[in-house]
C-alpha cells in the first residue's frame, strides 16, 4: 500500500518537471489529488431510545440483561471518545502530509530525504485510518449488540403474554430507532452488497426469520388490501405460509399469509458514499412506510440519501393533494422496499 502511494507521488512530480509556468503548476489537477481532505465533522444523528412497556422495564431492571446493557453502554461511550481522539490524531498527520506535499511542490523537486519522510507520514496515516476504522466497527458492533438485547427483551415481553400495550408514541420511536440502528454494510473494496442490503432484492427462495420485520399485504375488515408492518412469528415450510403479528399491538391480529404476500425489510443499510448501486434510483416507484404510521404506501423516490445516516425523500401517492402526491417526506432505508404487485383475484 505504502509503495503504491509512493509511486503515485512520483507522477505529479514528473509532470511538474517539464513546464516552467507557475500558473500551470497550481492548476494542475494531479497536484490537487494530493490534498488530503476529510469530510468535516461527523454527521450528527439523533438516535431516539424507545421506551419499553413498564413491566418490561421492570423485568429488565431485575434481569442480568440490565447489567449487560449497562456494560455495553459504557463501552460505547468510551469508544465514541476514542474515535474522536483518533480523528484528531489523524488530522495532525494529514496536515503534516499536506504541508510536506506543498513544500515539495514549491521546491519543485523531491529530495530523497523528503521522499522517505513523506513515505513515513503516509504509513502513519494509513495506520491511523485503520485504527479509526477498527474503532468505528467496534462501536457499530456495540450498537448492534445493544439493539439485539433490546429487541430480545421486547420479543420476550411480547411472548410472555403478560404485556401491557405500549403507547403509539413509543411504538413510533421503536420503529425509528430500529431504522437508525440498522447494521451498516461495510464490505471490502469491490465487494458487492449482499441481498437485503439497501435496495438489493432478497434471494428468490429467501425465507424471513422469526422475529424479523416484514411488510405484508393483509386484507382489512372492509375487504381492502393494505401493506402493513409486521413481525414474523412462524414459517410453515410445508404450506409455505407465514404467520405474522401486526406490529401495531392495538390491532392484536395474527395473520397467516402466503409467501407472495410477505416481503422482508432490508437487513442492512447501504452506505451511499460507497455503494450507491444499493439504493433505489431517483424517480423509481417503491413502497414506503408513511411516517408515523405502520402502513406502506406507493411512493416515488424524490431524493437519495447522501450519507449512511440520511433517509430517502419520497413523494407518496395521495389523492387528497391537488397534484396527487404528498409533500416530500423522509423515510429511512429500512422502510423503503420494492414495489410488489400481487395479482388480485377479482
Amino acid at each position: 500500500m505504502g509503495k503504491g502511494k509512493d509511486k503515485n507521488l512520483g507522477s505529479p512530480k514528473r509532470s511538474l518537471d517539464s513546464p516552467k509556468s507557475p500558473k500551470l503548476r497550481t492548476s494542475s489537477p494531479s497536484f490537487r489529488r494530493e490534498q488530503l481532505l476529510r469530510s468535516e465533522p461527523l454527521p450528527e444523528i439523533n438516535v431516539t431510545p424507545y421506551p419499553l412497556s413498564t413491566s418490561t422495564e421492570m423485568a429488565m431492571a431485575m434481569s442480568s440483561e440490565a447489567q449487560a446493557l449497562q456494560e455495553r453502554v459504557k463501552v460505547l461511550s468510551e469508544l465514541v471518545r476514542e474515535i474522536q481522539k483518533a480523528r484528531e490524531d489523524n488530522a495532525s498527520h494529514m496536515n503534516a502530509i499536506n504541508n510536506l506535499s506543498d513544500k515539495i511542490v514549491s521546491e519543485e523537486k523531491l529530495s530523497v530525504a523528503n521522499r522517505t519522510k513523506l513515505k513515513n507520514l503516509y504509513e502513519n496515516g494509513v495506520a491511523d485510518s485503520e485504527k479509526e476504522v477498527s474503532l468505528m466497527k467496534k462501536a457499530l458492533n456495540t450498537v448492534y449488540q445493544i439493539r439485539n438485547i433490546r429487541h430480545d427483551l421486547r420479543i420476550q415481553a411480547k411472548n410472555s403474554g403478560n404485556k401491557e400495550t405500549i403507547r403509539r408514541g413509543a411504538l413510533m420511536k421503536m420503529l425509528l430507532n430500529c431504522a437508525q440502528t440498522l447494521p451498516l454494510w461495510i464490505g471490502n473494496t469491490g465487494e458487492k452488497p449482499p441481498p437485503l442490503c439497501g435496495a438489493v432484492a432478497p434471494e428468490l427462495n429467501y425465507v424471513a426469520k422469526v422475529n424479523d420485520m416484514v411488510a405484508c399485504l393483509v386484507r382489512g375488515s372492509e375487504g381492502e388490501d393494505n401493506w402493513i408492518l409486521a413481525e414474523v412469528v412462524n414459517y410453515n415450510t410445508a404450506t409455505n405460509k407465514y404467520e405474522v403479528d401486526d406490529i401495531d399491538e392495538e390491532q392484536k391480529e395474527r395473520h397467516t399469509l402466503s409467501r407472495r404476500r410477505v416481503y422482508p425489510l432490508p437487513l442492512m443499510r447501504a452506505n451511499p458514499e460507497v455503494n450507491p448501486e444499493a439504493l433505489y434510483a431517483k424517480g423509481s416507484i417503491v413502497m414506503a412506510l408513511y411516517p408515523q404510521t405502520t402502513c406502506f404506501y406507493k411512493a416515488v423516490i424524490n431524493r437519495l440519501p447522501t450519507l449512511a445516516t440520511e433517509e430517502y425523500e419520497v413523494l407518496f401517492e395521495d389523492p387528497s393533494y391537488a397534484d396527487g402526491y404528498s409533500p416530500p417526506l423522509m423515510v429511512a432505508q429500512r422502510y423503503v422496499i420494492q414495489i410488489k404487485e400481487v395479482k388480485k383475484k377479482s
Binding site: 413510533m172 420511536k173 411516517p291 404510521t293
Partner: protein
C-alpha cells in the same frame, strides 16, 4: 348620634338623618395624606371595630362604621310599613308605564327633622306622592311579596346611598366626588331594580394584579429574613403584618394631589387604581352593601410602586408623632426596626429582578421552622404565614394589627389551624412534608442526586422509562426545532405577511386532517378576526394548530379545530400544543375550555384532561358555542396554579424525590423483621402501630385519633368510596388494555354465538363493568371483584380448555388478581 348631623339638608327625599358622623379622631392615620382630609366626611374609620389601632383605643368614641352599622340595625328594627315608606322614596312609581317618578315624596314632611331613634308613624300606603300623585303603595307594589330579609337588604343599600349622598356633598376633590356620585347612582339603581349591588364597568374585577401585595410581602419576609433566628423572624413577620394592616387602612392621595409631580401617563394609571381602590376597598368599608376587598389583596407591585414613597413617609411620621401612646416594646419595634424594614422592602418593590413578585415564587421557610418541628409554636407560625397568603382574602387576619402583640395573634392562629389543615394547598403541604420530617439538607441532597447525570448512568437514563407524552416535544422546543405562536387575522390592523402565510398553512393542515369539515368553513373560521389559532411551527411552516375562540366575558374558550399534520403525529405535539394553550388561557384568566369532539377526537381530549361532565352552567355557553351534529361536548377546567407545560415534569420530579427519600430511609434502617404470623392464626386485624419496625421506619399515627381516618384498614367496608372508585377505575383500565382482554371487551353477540345465552345466565363483560363503574355501582371493591371473576368463570364454563378464549381467561385472571393484591383491594382469601 346621627342627631348631631340632623341639620343635614334632606334632598330628594333623603330626609332622615344620615350616618355622616365625619369624626376627626381617626384621621390621624388615614386622612393624613389625603388632600380632602379636612372635609372629613370620607375620612376612613381605620380604628373602631375593624382594627384595634392606637387611634381606636382612645376612648368610647364610635367610628363611622359603627355609626352606620347602628343606623342599619335601627332601620332593621322598624315595622314593615315604615320600611316600605323608606324604600318607596327610592323606588320608581309603578302606577302606570308613563309615570317617570323615581321616588315617592312625602307631601307633608315632618316639621322637625326626622330622628331615627324616635320613629315617625309610617305614612299610609294610600298617601299620594308629592311629585307624581300616585300613592305610596304604587311605589312599592313590587315589594309586596318580599321577605323581611329582602327588605333589610334593600334598606341597607338605602342607608349606604344616604351615606354616599353626604360623601358626594362634602367631597371637594373632583375625582373622588365623581366616584362617589357614580357609586351613589349605581346603588340607587340597585334599589330600583332590586338587584344585588356590584361595581361593574371598565374597572375590571379584583384582583387587579398578581401576585398581590400580601403575597409579595409574605415572600419578602421569607426571602429576606428566613436566615434569622426565630425571635427576629417573628419580629419581622410582625412588622410585615403591621405594614399590611396600615396599608389596608391607609387613605390614598387623590390623583389631583399627585398630578404636580408625576407624568401624565403615571397619573392616569394612578387614577384608575385610585378609582378601583375607592370602589372596591375604601367605600365598601363604609357601605357594606358593596363587597369589600382588602387593598393589599387586590393590588400588586405596580400599585405598590406608585404609592410606596408617600406611604412610607406618612407611616413613619405617624409612628413618630404617636410614639408616646404606644406600649414600650411596640415603640421600640416600630421606631427602630420599621424604617429598616421599609428600606429593604423598598428595594424589592423597585427592583425589576426581585423574586418576591414572581407568581411562582415558593418561599423557603426559615430553618428554625423545621429544625424545631416538634415545637408546636413553630408550626403555628408557619400557619400564620400560610394564612397570610392564603386566607387574607377574607380579611380575617386584619384582627391582628398594629398593636397586636404575638400574644394576641397566637390564640387566633390556634383557632385558624383547623381550617388551614383542610385547605389543600399543595405547596404548603409539600413544604411541610419535606421540612418537618427531613430537614432541608436531606431534600437538597436528594434533589442533587436525581439531577446529577453521573448518578444515573445506565438503562434508566438511556432508555428512559415511559417518558411523559410531551417530553419529546418539549425537548424539540428547547432546541428550537419547533415554535408555538398565537396568530389571528384582523380587519382593523395590518396583519404581517408571516402571519398570513401561517394562517394559510394552518388552513391547509386543518382541511387535510379534518376531511369531513368543508374547506370553506375551515377557511372562514381560521381567517375570522374573532378566532385565534395556536400554531405549531417547524421549519417556518405550520405543522399543526388549535383554532379557538375566546369568550372572555363568559370565561371560556371554544376549541374549534385541532390537528397535527399526519406525518408529524404521535410525537407528543398535540399534548404540548394543548398545554401551551392552557398556559395562555391561564394568563388571560379564562379558565374553561369547551369543544365539540367527534368520535376520533374524544380520546385525544380525554388525554388532555377534558371530560364530558361540563363544569360550566349551560346558560354560560349556550348560544355562544358552535353546535355540531353527532359530536360530543367536552370541557376542561383549568387550574391557574398549574403551569401546564411543566406539569408532568414537576410531578415526575416529585415522584423521583419521594422514591429517593424512601430508598434513603430504607437504607438507613436496613433491618428485616420476621413476617407476621398472627393472621394465619386467625386474627383479622391488628393496629398498624403494633407492626414491628413500623415506628422505626418513621410511621406516625395520622392526626385525629389513634387509628386515624387515613389509615388503610384491611376492612374495606370502611374505605372512602371515592378512593376505591379511583383505584377501580385505574385497575379496570389496566385490565382492558391487557393483551388477553380482547375476548371480554364487549358482550357476546348472540348473532355470532347463538347458543351462548342458553348456557350463560349471568353474562358479564368489561364494557358493562365500565358502565357500572361510571354509574357508581361498585361502592365496594368486592362487587367489582365479583363481576370480574364472573367474566372468567363464564368463559371457562362455555369454552373448551384448549381454546384461545379459555387461555385468555386464565392469563387475564392471573394478571387481575395480581393487581388486586398489589392494590390491597382483595379481601383475604382462605
Amino acid at each position: 348620634m346621627a342627631s348631631r348631623d340632623s341639620n343635614n339638608p334632606g334632598v330628594s327625599g333623603v330626609s332622615t338623618g344620615t350616618a355622616s358622623g365625619h369624626h376627626q379622631q381617626s384621621a390621624s392615620m388615614t386622612a393624613a395624606g389625603a388632600s380632602t382630609g379636612a372635609a372629613g366626611v370620607a375620612s376612613m374609620p381605620a380604628s373602631g371595630s375593624q382594627a384595634a389601632g392606637a387611634a381606636g383605643e382612645t376612648g368610647g368614641r364610635v367610628s363611622n362604621v359603627q355609626r352606620i352599622q347602628q343606623k342599619k340595625a335601627q332601620v332593621r328594627a322598624w315595622p314593615r310599613d315604615k320600611k316600605l315608606e323608606k324604600l318607596s322614596m327610592f323606588s320608581s312609581c309603578r302606577a302606570d308605564e308613563n309615570c317617570k317618578c323615581n321616588g315617592w315624596k312625602n307631601p307633608s314632611p315632618p316639621t322637625h327633622p326626622a330622628r331615627p331613634d324616635t320613629p315617625q308613624p309610617a305614612a299610609p300606603p294610600s298617601q299620594p306622592c308629592q311629585s307624581c300623585t300616585h300613592t305610596l303603595g304604587d311605589h312599592v307594589s313590587h315589594l309586596d311579596s318580599a321577605t323581611e330579609d329582602d327588605l333589610d337588604k334593600l334598606l341597607s343599600i338605602v342607608v349606604d346611598v344616604e351615606t354616599l349622598f353626604i360623601c358626594v356633598h362634602r367631597e371637594e376633590d373632583h375625582d373622588t366626588k365623581q366616584v362617589y356620585s357614580y357609586l351613589f347612582k349605581r346603588l340607587r339603581k340597585c334599589i330600583v331594580q332590586v338587584t344585588p349591588p356590584t361595581v361593574e364597568g371598565l374597572l375590571g374585577a379584583p384582583p387587579f394584579e398578581r401576585p398581590s401585595i400580601v403575597t409579595g410581602v409574605t415572600n419578602f419576609v421569607f426571602h429576606k429574613f428566613n436566615h434569622l433566628q426565630q425571635k427576629d423572624f417573628l419580629m419581622m413577620s410582625d412588622l410585615a403584618k403591621t405594614f399590611l394592616h396600615c396599608l389596608n387602612h391607609w387613605r390614598l392621595a387623590t390623583p389631583s394631589a399627585r398630578r404636580a409631580h408625576t407624568t401624565p401617563e403615571e397619573c392616569s394609571a394612578y387614577k384608575v387604581n385610585y378609582t378601583r381602590w375607592l370602589c372596591f376597598s375604601y367605600v365598601p368599608q363604609l357601605c357594606d352593601s358593596l363587597r369589600h376587598h382588602e387593598t393589599t389583596v387586590i393590588f400588586g407591585r405596580t400599585f405598590m410602586r406608585a404609592i410606596f414613597h408617600t406611604l412610607r413617609k406618612q407611616l413613619l411620621d405617624k409612628f413618630r408623632s404617636e410614639k408616646d401612646k404606644l406600649p414600650a416594646e411596640k415603640r421600640l419595634l416600630l421606631l427602630n426596626q420599621f424604617p429598616r424594614f421599609l428600606s429593604m422592602f423598598e428595594e424589592e418593590v423597585y427592583s425589576n429582578s426581585s423574586p418576591i413578585w414572581d407568581v411562582d415564587y415558593r418561599p423557603q421557610p426559615p430553618p428554625h421552622l423545621h429544625n424545631q418541628a416538634a415545637e408546636r409554636g413553630s408550626g403555628m407560625l408557619r400557619g400564620d404565614f400560610d394564612r397570610l397568603s392564603l386566607q387574607a382574602g377574607e380579611g380575617q387576619y386584619a384582627s391582628g394589627t398594629l398593636s397586636s402583640s404575638l400574644k394576641r395573634s397566637r390564640p387566633d392562629d390556634r383557632n385558624e389551624k383547623g381550617d388551614l389543615d383542610d385547605s389543600t394547598e399543595i405547596v404548603s403541604k409539600r413544604i411541610k412534608i419535606e421540612t418537618e420530617d427531613l430537614g432541608e439538607e436531606t431534600v437538597a441532597e436528594v434533589v442533587a442526586t436525581i439531577t446529577d447525570p453521573r448518578q444515573m448512568v445506565g438503562p434508566e437514563v438511556l432508555f428512559s422509562e415511559n417518558a411523559a407524552r410531551d417530553e419529546a416535544a418539549k425537548l424539540e422546543e428547547r432546541k428550537g426545532n419547533i415554535e408555538f405562536h398565537i396568530v389571528g387575522n384582523s380587519l382593523t390592523q395590518k396583519v404581517s405577511k408571516q402571519t398570513m402565510l401561517w394562517l394559510i398553512g394552518l388552513q391547509n393542515v386543518f382541511s387535510h386532517q379534518l376531511p369531513r369539515m368543508p374547506k370553506d368553513y375551515i377557511t372562514r373560521l381560521v381567517f375570522d378576526p374573532k378566532h385565534r389559532t395556536l400554531a405549531l411551527i417547524k421549519d417556518n411552516r405550520p405543522i399543526g394548530g388549535i383554532c379557538f375562540r375566546m369568550f372572555a366575558t363568559q370565561g371560556f374558550s371554544e376549541i374549534v379545530f385541532c390537528a397535527v399534520t399526519s406525518n408529524e403525529q404521535v410525537k407528543g405535539y398535540g399534548t404540548h400544543m394543548m398545554n401551551h394553550l392552557k398556559d395562555y388561557h391561564v394568563k388571560k384568566n379564562t379558565l374553561h375550555f369547551l369543544t365539540f369532539a367527534d368520535e376520533f377526537a374524544i380520546g385525544y381530549f380525554k388525554k388532555q384532561g377534558f371530560s364530558k361532565d361540563i363544569q360550566l352552567p349551560r346558560s354560560v355557553y349556550q348560544g355562544y358555542i358552535k353546535d355540531y351534529e353527532g359530536a360530543t361536548l367536552m370541557g376542561c377546567e383549568l387550574n391557574p396554579k398549574i403551569v401546564y407545560t411543566e406539569f408532568t415534569a414537576v410531578i415526575r420530579r416529585q415522584k423521583e424525590i419521594i422514591k429517593k427519600l424512601i430508598e434513603r430511609k430504607q437504607s438507613e434502617i436496613r433491618k428485616v423483621h420476621p413476617g407476621l404470623t398472627c393472621f394465619k392464626e386467625g386474627v383479622r386485624e391488628i393496629p398498624i402501630e403494633s407492626i414491628p419496625g413500623i415506628r422505626d421506619a418513621g410511621w406516625k399515627p395520622p392526626p385525629g385519633g389513634p387509628t386515624g381516618r387515613q389509615s388503610r384498614s384491611p376492612d374495606h367496608e370502611h374505605q372512602d368510596p371515592d378512593y376505591v372508585q379511583g383505584m377501580l377505575k385505574t385497575l379496570l383500565c389496566n385490565v382492558k388494555s391487557h393483551a388477553a382482554a380482547w375476548p371480554f371487551q364487549v358482550p357476546v353477540d348472540p348473532n355470532e354465538v347463538p347458543d351462548y345465552y342458553d348456557h350463560i345466565k349471568y353474562p358479564m363483560d368489561l364494557k358493562t363493568m365500565t358502565e357500572r363503574l361510571k354509574a357508581r355501582y361498585y361502592v365496594k371493591a368486592r362487587l367489582f371483584n365479583a363481576d370480574m371473576l364472573r367474566i372468567f368463570k363464564n368463559c371457562r364454563f362455555y369454552n373448551h380448555p384448549d381454546t384461545e378464549y379459555y387461555k385468555c381467561a386464565n392469563t387475564l385472571e392471573k394478571y387481575y388478581i395480581g393487581k388486586m393484591k398489589e392494590l390491597g383491594l382483595l379481601e383475604r382469601e382462605k
